[in-house]
């Protein structure tokens, strides 16, 4: 049974979950279309390609993408995890472990482009793995949120300051 203090937030949280799902879905489409899920495609995106006449990415161009994402992704991850901690009875250690994986993947996704372009192109597979990890763990968080809101976790949510 849902905690009555949480019940009134069910609507806003459900709307948030729907929109985050759209954000994650469109992120996957954009990743596939702009970079691709092959190592060579990711390297070509950042380093340029003679075959497609694509120039290498400039520092300014990479920062133009990285800076807003440095706000948006951590903010979205933080708010989602905050809500999960708030409405579910997830245990502390698994919660911290998955939260760490999500944050680590987010950091690699954001910084990966700069590293591939200016430091080590062989990091391309890591960027792909981190993106898949970020998407996967975000799906876990969203699933936990939905389960908690539907009261299917079997116990009242933990509400503590």
């Amino acid at each position: 049974m849902a905690d009555p203090r949480i019940e009134r937030f069910t609507g806003p949280i459900a709307a948030f979950v729907v929109m985050v799902t759209v954000v994650m879905g469109t992120a996957a489409v954009l990743f596939a279309r702009k970079l691709g899920f092959a190592e060579s495609q990711v390297q070509a995106f950042y380093l340029g390609s003679e075959a497609t006449f694509a120039p290498p990415r400039s520092l300014a161009g990479l920062l133009e993408v990285a800076v807003p994402h440095l706000l948006a992704i951590p903010m979205m991850v933080f708010v989602t995890q905050h809500l999960v901690a708030f409405v579910s009875r997830a245990r502390r250690r698994p919660f911290a472990a998955v939260a760490g994986v999500t944050s680590g993947c987010a950091a690699v996704v954001i910084a990966g482009g700069l590293a591939i372009r200016f430091a080590w192109p062989a990091l391309a597979p890591l960027k792909i793995v981190a993106f898949v990890g970020l998407e996967g763990t975000m799906l876990v968080w969203l699933g936990l949120l939905v389960a908690a809101l539907r009261g299917s976790e079997g116990a009242p949510p933990r509400v503590s300051g």
């Binding site: 009555p4 009134r8 937030f9 806003p12 709307a15 985050v20 759209v22 469109t26 954009l30 979205m76």
Partner: protein
Amino acid sequence: MRFLVQPVPEALERARPPVRAFLAFTALLLLAWVASRAAHGALTPAGLELILEPAPGERLGPVALWEEVHQGAFLYGFLLLALGSLLAVCPVSRRVRNALLALATAAALLDLGAPLLPVALPGFPGWAALRIGAFVVAVGALLAMTSLAWATFGRETRGSDG
């Protein structure tokens, strides 16, 4: 969120100035969003089709379309969560706040999804007008939520039901 979940009058009253400042910025954001779309020609069907209509052979539509849906969903998600949560502790009837939230969410989804219609069903008529209408309704509902929260947040204690 503690002050939202345990809405004691003193806490809500203390939170009113920053909440009102946030709501003022939210209203500015919504108005700026409308201005931005107008400046890009995205508030007329012809202008919108020019920007987002898939070119022949472009199976998934232009990348700009996906970027816009991506950014729009982020913005809508945070606005719906923040405004919906604030309204939940305002002395507003449950019916009104649920209706506004449902209207804003449905219109937002339509705003985000309408440009995908000609991608899924090439030649789909009227998607641009549908998107403009949905955007106007979504922004209108969000502005109504903002105004309502501005006027009522911290005014009186609510029951546990809301």
